[in-house]
Symmetry: C2
Subunit: 299 residues, 2 copies
């Protein structure tokens, strides 16, 4: 294939690329482990060429990227656009390349002054959601290591909030007294639902309920499945208590089709919220396509 342009999602651990047509269709795709976390500044261009060199012809091609490649420690710092603003619509940064065929554009993230918050990558999924649903007015939840909640209105992100719930869960499971209790892949929906309700109603008890998981394991038959579901429910329950102004009575979209996104949808449904679940990959490409069209001057 010879794409009209190339879309990149360059995260901390993964680099994903799509060869795209001028109409926004996917012609080919590729991925590697050359995440921002593994690269020095001189490593980006070689990592990119190793992945998508086969897509390049003789002519220069636009490469539109989002994610951590635009962080301060990334390929080139792309900065942040301050909300309220249209997402993924600010001026990209253009890192220099040795290969003259690469015209790389890295999109800026979003920032919020008060309370202080940032996002980098998710704003492209929000832009993709708005490209598909231009009249959407409500809240978009993007579950992940750092789950984002974005108030969207009139095509702009009005405000947003981040909960580092997934990061906390991973640290608990890997580096605390709960590391044995939370090992394995087992799961119990009943334990999740119970803990979710308790986390919502009594979020202050988090550090105590978590220790109880360990104590229950010492005193009785340990059930790693119930333990994982309980810890997850407690954490997401507290997050839903904090984000109630974001989801209560709002039009609500959850981005993602993975286990975590399904958990958030289940939790929100249990609170009576109606959730529209959208596919993250598709939104990333739709958002990058919208940004490429803006770059080309073809809205």
């Amino acid at each position: 294939v010879t794409p009209d342009w190339i879309a990149l999602d360059w995260g901390t651990t993964r680099l994903r690329a799509w060869a795209m047509s001028a109409g926004g269709e996917v012609l080919d795709q590729a991925a590697s482990d050359a995440g921002m976390g593994t690269l020095g500044r001189d490593g980006y261009e070689p990592a990119l060429l190793a992945l998508i060199g086969g897509w390049l012809g003789d002519a220069p091609v636009d490469v539109v990227a989002c994610g951590m490649a635009g962080a301060r420690e990334g390929w080139a710092e792309a900065g942040y656009d301050a909300v309220p603003c249209r997402p993924a619509a600010g001026s990209p940064v253009r890192p220099e390349t040795r290969d003259p065929r690469l015209r790389v554009h890295i999109l800026p993230g979003l920032s919020q002054a008060d309370p202080p918050d940032v996002m980098r990558g998710e704003e492209v999924q929000i832009a993709g959601y708005l490209a598909q649903n231009p009249r959407f007015d409500g809240v978009i939840c993007l579950p992940g290591t750092h789950t984002k909640w974005a108030h969207v209105s009139a095509g702009e992100v009005v405000s947003f909030a981040t909960a580092m719930t997934g990061d906390l869960f991973a640290a608990l499971a890997g580096h605390t007294v709960l590391r044995h209790s939370l090992a394995g892949e087992g799961w119990s929906d009943a334990a999740f639902d119970e803990a979710l309700g308790d986390g919502l109603a009594r979020p202050e008890r988090l550090a105590m309920r978590l220790f109880s998981i360990r104590a229950a394991g010492l005193l009785g038959a340990p059930d790693p499945g119930a333990a994982r579901a309980t810890a997850s429910g407690l954490l997401i329950g507290a997050e839903l208590a904090a984000t109630k102004p974001y989801w209560l009575g709002q039009a609500l979209a959850v981005v993602g089709a993975d286990t975590l996104a399904r958990l958030y949808a289940r939790a929100l449904n249990a609170q009576g919220a109606t959730v529209h679940v959208a596919r993250a990959d598709e939104l990333t490409r739709a958002g990058l396509f919208a940004a490429w069209q803006t770059l080309k001057g073809t809205p």
Copy 2:
């Protein structure tokens, strides 16, 4: 010295020993890094002899131990006494030793069925506090990696609760996006007090306020001292919200003279609670002394 008996606090990371007189005075002391976490079952006796061999004469001597040496993966499992009960007053376990001069007694911990909870080591400090204050009726708070709150009445532990606040802080500082923000040793009392109040009033916002620390660092001048104090205040604030039934209007003792115990005392004072601060080491020895007297039949 030739002690009348030997007191041991055998924790996960440290082994501490005191050569004691029959009247409870300290004749000598020693410590090593031979914590339970570093030892297989056959490693305990050699580690003990390496530390206190010089105190042994020809006659057998009682060695009274508390802590993780009595855990399932320790020297010999000492079990748990179920509350309500007198602390550190149950039957010790007697591990076999090759050296006939060692008569080792490892004290049991405490357990609670509902909500499930355990302690191992802190119950000896509680026993020590009760030995010094036999009429105490109130709550003893023992700050640590896993902070314990114990309701004490008529010489018994009636109920208790554990908050894994310190474990959470260490995991946040070591293994999450906050690891750079929380590096260093700086501190701000003002940031701690502000975050404490917010953590108490809005504990559900923990995972969002924590991410804000990182975002503030990215958007402005990072202040690791304020960041550490803020994270600590948020976590302890949530713990105080959960433990309000333990400290509100109760006679209250905080055990410890280290930085963490001072933080808890500061936080409780800010809530209008009057706190009696007690020295942990002294209480450990007093509790082991009481246990040794019981073993000897001399109350």
